[in-house]
């Protein structure tokens, strides 16, 4: 709705009093709801109204700036070229040209011929060439790429003239050069010094070209010409002409040029800034002039190599790098694990050498050779890949224990061996055993269902240690080391590694989701369990939590946990064994074991020599614990697990 103000604005009149626009909102009378009042009340519409913003009006009150077309002179030029341009009418007629301040040139440290002869001599360089370099540096403001591009010694006459032109009227100054070059110390103005330098260079070239040395240049220059002429081993002043014409054009690399420049700059700075008061400044300057020619050459060479790699090489390099990193990380991981182990060992030492734990472990080691109870280790190892087969395989293994103790543990053979060896296998177990092969997996659930049905089924029904296991609670399997606190005998050692016990069903009131009933994993282990699930190609949670699936799932999970625990323990065991072996080694081969633990482990290691080793290999193979010294070092965990899954 157009208001008076809008109209005013359209006509570009001055807006009426702005204050009037802001209407006072009336208070809502009591007894009417806010919403209703909003509709009927005498207040602002609910639609937000933005005051339109117009372009600011043209401010004609200011006077237009006057521009004039006028000639100007640029003070950066030495001639009085008059160009014309538009500019704001000046108030100050003597105003400097606006762009004069941008006319900057670099300050080069220049040198006099005396300084050159006393300090700056270089067998590879003549003074003329050096001053030519200086001219180039000044001409191109130390743009080294350009300097190197244009560097040509001896220079063409025209180039030389052009350079001299650029560097000021050297001809004029060089006539004054004798004065300047007489006694030049730190106080000599740089310009003069440079003029002297280039002047002398010029005189040299003139001399070499057979020009007139006597006309413009004084005695000093002639002297420098001789001095410089005598510098190269081949030439004297008189023969310098020949020198120039004979010597082929030198090619100097950028490193040569830079090296020369920075060396001279450093020397000159050192000479001239003798005052102690300038020490800091000097040090700064010197550090800014640091130049290591060889390093630069090396660097560029390496760059060159780097840049001429073929794509295949680059690929290979990257692969190698990744590999190296992986190895490095593995190394770190192993050392960390080892440290942890050592720490654990130390804690165990508190119990003493004959402590229960070590005894238990030793027992296990011994057992592996013996048969029966050793299967306790094997059970979960199989179970990790084929979830349902944990108990059956145990039985199978147990059976195998009767036949051939440790070969049973070796993957694929175990089910068949178990079957053949032990008729004691339960039906479920048999089913599970047959289910170990992926093809027959279907059957496996049945077995587990059966197991589920039959109260708390003892998975290792065939084992002699089954009784001991019965008592172990579901939580037991998570603390294998605790379990080993029990009787240290070999037979009871099997109790240290309880097979996954089935948890007790807790009855919950009302309806519930089965997924809620998943056994929670201790948070510290959660990650490792999850990574194990990932390697198995399983999701973190079952997608369809039916009763069978959940039962399976729980079994898998608990098996994984057991596996992890066993792995840990195996590690411990190994290191234990090692320590003991080392100790034995240090005691000497003849001496008998001093402590029971030592004897126990010695028995495991020596008595059941094959058993010990084979256990080692089993453990190794199954759990992927990296160890040195065992025969079948099977490498990283990944591939091992894969192998097992095939089983």
């Amino acid at each position: 709705m157009a208001t008076g103000n809008d109209v005013r604005e359209i006509f570009q009149l001055k807006a009426s009093d702005q204050v009037r626009r802001v209407q006072k909102t009336e208070r809502k009378p009591d007894g009417i709801s806010r919403e209703l009042y909003g509709l009927i009340g005498n207040n602002v519409s609910t639609v937000a109204f933005n005051n339109p913003t117009y372009k600011p009006k043209l401010n004609v009150s200011k006077k237009a700036v006057n521009w004039t077309w006028r000639p100007f002179v640029n003070p950066s030029r030495d001639d009085d070229l008059v160009l014309q341009h538009w500019e704001k009418t000046r108030t100050d007629p003597n105003e400097e040209y606006r762009f004069y301040k941008f006319n900057k040139s670099i300050n080069l440290i220049s040198f006099s011929p005396e300084e050159y002869t006393s300090h700056l001599k270089d067998p590879d360089w003549t003074m003329e060439e050096t001053s030519y370099l200086w001219d180039l540096c000044r001409r191109f403001d130390l743009r080294w790429v350009v300097i190197q591009d244009r560097y040509e010694w001896p220079p063409q006459e025209a180039d030389r003239l052009a350079l001299q032109y650029y560097n000021g009227n050297n001809l004029v100054i060089s006539e004054n050069a004798p004065n300047a070059t007489k006694k030049e110390e730190e106080d000599t103005p740089m310009k003069d010094a440079s003029a002297a330098a280039s002047g002398s260079g010029e005189s040299f070239v003139q001399a070499t070209l057979g020009g007139d040395t006597s006309t413009s240049t004084g005695a000093t220059n002639a002297a420098t010409a001789t001095a410089s002429g005598s510098k190269p081993p081949t030439a004297a002043a008189s023969t310098s002409k020949a020198v120039v014409s004979i010597t082929p054009a030198k090619t100097r690399s950028m490193e040569d040029l830079k090296h020369r420049y920075y060396t001279i700059s450093r020397i000159l700075t050192k000479i001239r800034m003798g005052d102690a008061s300038q020490a800091v400044e000097k040090a700064q300057l010197l550090s800014s002039m640091a130049y290591d020619k060889n390093r630069e050459i090396e660097r560029k060479k390496n760059l060159e190599i780097l840049n001429t790699r073929t794509p295949e090489q680059i690929e290979e390099e990257e692969a190698l790098y990744l590999e190296a990193r992986r190895i490095d990380q593995n190394e770190k991981k192993i050392t960390r694990e080892r440290e942890n182990l050592l720490r654990l060992l130390n804690t165990r030492d508190i119990y003493g050498p004959g402590g229960p734990t070590s005894a238990g472990l030793a027992g296990q080691v011994g057992v592996a050779g013996g048969g029966g109870p050793g299967t306790g280790i094997i059970i979960p190892s199989n179970s990790i890949t084929i979830p349902s087969s944990s108990s059956p395989s145990a039985s199978g293994a147990a059976g195998g224990a009767g036949g051939s103790g440790h070969s049973s543990a070796n993957g694929p053979l175990s089910p068949s061996v178990g079957k053949g060896g032990a008729g004691a296998a339960t039906p479920g177990g048999a089913a599970g055993a047959s289910g170990t092969t992926p093809k027959k997996r279907k059957k496996a659930p049945k077995g587990s269902v059966q197991a589920d049905d039959s109260a708390p089924p003892t998975p290792t029904t065939a084992t002699s240690g089954a009784n001991a296991l019965k008592g172990s609670s579901s939580s037991n399997h998570r603390r294998p080391s605790n379990a080993s606190d029990g009787p240290g005998g070999p037979s009871s050692a099997s109790a240290t590694l309880p097979p996954p016990a089935v948890k007790k069903e807790k009855l919950t009131p009302g309806a519930y989701l089965r997924s809620q009933k998943m056994t929670p994993i201790v948070s510290t282990k959660q990650q490792r369990v999850q990574s194990a699930l990932v390697t198995l190609g399983l999701p973190f949670k079952p997608a369809m939590p039916t009763a069978t699936v959940m039962a399976k799932w729980d079994q898998v999970q608990s098996n994984i946990v057991t596996l992890l625990d066993i792995k840990k323990q195996a590690d411990k065991l190994e290191s234990d064994l090692k320590v003991v072996k080392m100790r034995r080694g240090s005691l000497g081969s003849g001496s008998s074991g001093s402590s029971s633990a030592v004897t126990g482990s010695a028995a495991s290691g020596a008595g059941g020599a094959t058993g010990g080793v084979s256990l080692g290999s089993n453990v190794d193979g199954n759990f992927g614990v990296k160890r040195e010294g065992t025969g079948d070092e099977s490498g990283t965990p990944g591939p091992v697990k894969k192998k097992k899954r095939k089983d």
């Binding site: 030029r77 014309q84 006319n103 190197q148 591009d149 840049n307």
Partner: protein, 471 residues
């Protein structure tokens, strides 16, 4: 104003390329005038007195490249009306031409500008005064300057400074003569010669660049460092648009198709695809140079409307699946071009394979990516990444569709570990007039005005001053 940094002094910018000449005022974004560099003239019958003033015809110049440098005084006449037009570019100063004795003709009226030279005249010769980026025919060049300043811009040369562009490998002698021309004949108050590669980099807003310029006459790659050309990195070969046009012409000839330019056609009627044209020709005898130029125009149009560059390596099978494009020659002959249209610009990338019937010189041509790579390789290793990151594409011959993409692809497939960044302005004017544009920008900068060669400096130092001030 502070950030703008411009200070315009109404300078003129002139860029004379092999094919096109661009002229205009500094500070503008497009040249005021673009016309062909080629000039036409009609030879006058031979004169009786064959003195020093006699102008040489085109072909005598070619023969008289060798000389004894006796007529040193000739060079002083440069820039005057009666100057010896036969001075060949690479000759040292003071060496003129000894007029040939056998055939001396005088050039009559000159014809400059698109309308003038494309109009049929019996006996009109056509020639570009530029060859390989160097001025070859000074008389013709003067005509071009005249045309640009007096007929097109219609300005008073004494009031404006002039900046011209030159090729990066221009010789001292040519620059000196240009300076003489500017000061002696036209009386410019100030003058400057800038390298076209530097100007192109400038137009692209880059202090460092690897300028890839592919024009009608030749292709060059010039590294530019902070506004200076790196002479040792200049790579060039005379493989340009004209060679491609020639190849197209050969192709037509091979398939027995005559390219008849427009000026010869009196009447034509439509024919079906691939059939002989049904055309009535005019009887217009012309010089071979004129006929060639008109043919080239047709072929130029053909290239512009039909040709295309394959995006990656040329693959006959892939290419044959691309849609064909019809093209009709001025005489009515028309055809659908399939793989042929890809083969033509492919010469730029793979001359060894695609250049048919190469001359001995052409056998040494290398592909453009190789040329670029060689150029960058000849520069300091620390500077190479910058160069590869600032490849600037310019010149009319780079305007084939897909040219930039292909070049980028090719540069990346050469093994190196640099990141290649290609700057190819999409605007055709920018691509065609890159160097003019850079000159326009530079001459309108406040900080530039200290670099002009002034009349006074010229008077003091002579034409040699140009080599001192413009590097």
């Amino acid at each position: 104003m502070g950030t703008y940094g411009g200070d315009e002094v109404a300078a003129l910018v002139l860029s004379v390329g092999h094919t096109w000449t661009q002229a205009g005022y500094a500070g503008e974004d497009t040249p005021k005038s673009i016309f062909p560099t080629s000039v036409g003239w009609v030879d006058l019958p031979a004169e009786a007195d064959q003195g020093d003033d006699a102008d040489n015809s085109e072909d005598t110049q070619m023969q008289d490249v060798t000389q004894d440098g006796a007529s040193a005084s000739d060079s002083n006449h440069i820039g005057k009306k009666d100057a010896d037009g036969g001075d060949v570019a690479p000759q040292p100063v003071g060496a003129g031409l000894v007029p040939s004795k056998k055939k001396i003709t005088k050039r009559g009226k000159y014809y400059v500008g698109d309308g003038e030279i494309s109009c049929w005249r019996p006996d009109m010769e056509i020639k570009s005064p530029m060859k390989d980026g160097l001025v070859e025919d000074w008389d013709a060049l003067e005509q071009i300057w005249d045309h640009a300043f007096l007929k097109r811009l219609r300005c008073d040369p004494t009031e404006h400074p002039l900046i011209i562009t030159e090729s990066a490998w221009n010789t001292r002698e040519i620059r000196e003569k240009l300076t003489e021309l500017a000061f002696e004949k036209y009386n410019f108050p100030a003058f400057f010669v800038a390298k076209d590669a530097v100007m192109t980099a400038f137009a692209a807003g880059r202090p460092h660049a690897l300028v890839v310029d592919s024009g009608g006459d030749m292709t060059s790659v010039v590294p530019v460092y902070d506004g200076y050309v790196l002479r040792k990195g200049i790579m060039r070969q005379s493989l340009g648009g004209d060679v491609l046009s020639d190849q197209v012409l050969q192709q037509f000839k091979a398939s027995d198709v005559e390219v008849t330019p427009q000026y010869l056609i009196a009447k034509k009627s439509p024919v079906i695809v691939g059939q002989k044209p049904n055309v009535v020709l005019r009887d217009r005898p012309a010089t071979p140079s004129f006929h060639k130029m008109m043919q080239m125009r047709v072929l130029h149009d053909f290239k512009e409307s039909v040709c295309q560059v394959a995006e990656s390596t040329y693959n006959e099978q892939n290419i044959s699946t691309r849609p064909q494009k019809p093209y009709e020659l001025p005489d009515g002959y028309n055809f659908n071009f399939g793989t042929e249209r890809f083969k033509v610009p492919e010469i730029m990338f793979n001359p060894k394979e695609f250049l048919k019937n190469p001359t001995p010189e052409q056998e040494n041509f290398v592909g453009l990516p190789k040329l670029i790579f060689n150029s960058a390789q000849s520069c300091d290793i620390d500077f190479r990444p910058t160069l590869f990151g600032n490849v600037v594409l310019t010149g009319g011959n780079t305007l084939f569709p897909g040219f930039a993409d292909r070049l980028h692809w090719e540069l990346n497939s050469i093994p190196h570990s640099y990141k290649v960044k290609l700057h190819a302005p999409g605007n055709t004017v920018e691509r065609k007039c890159g160097s003019w544009l850079g000159g326009s920008i530079m001459a309108s900068l406040g900080t530039f005005h200290q670099l002009w060669i002034s009349r006074k400096e010229y008077d003091e130092s002579g034409s040699n001053i140009v080599n001192k001030k413009c590097v």
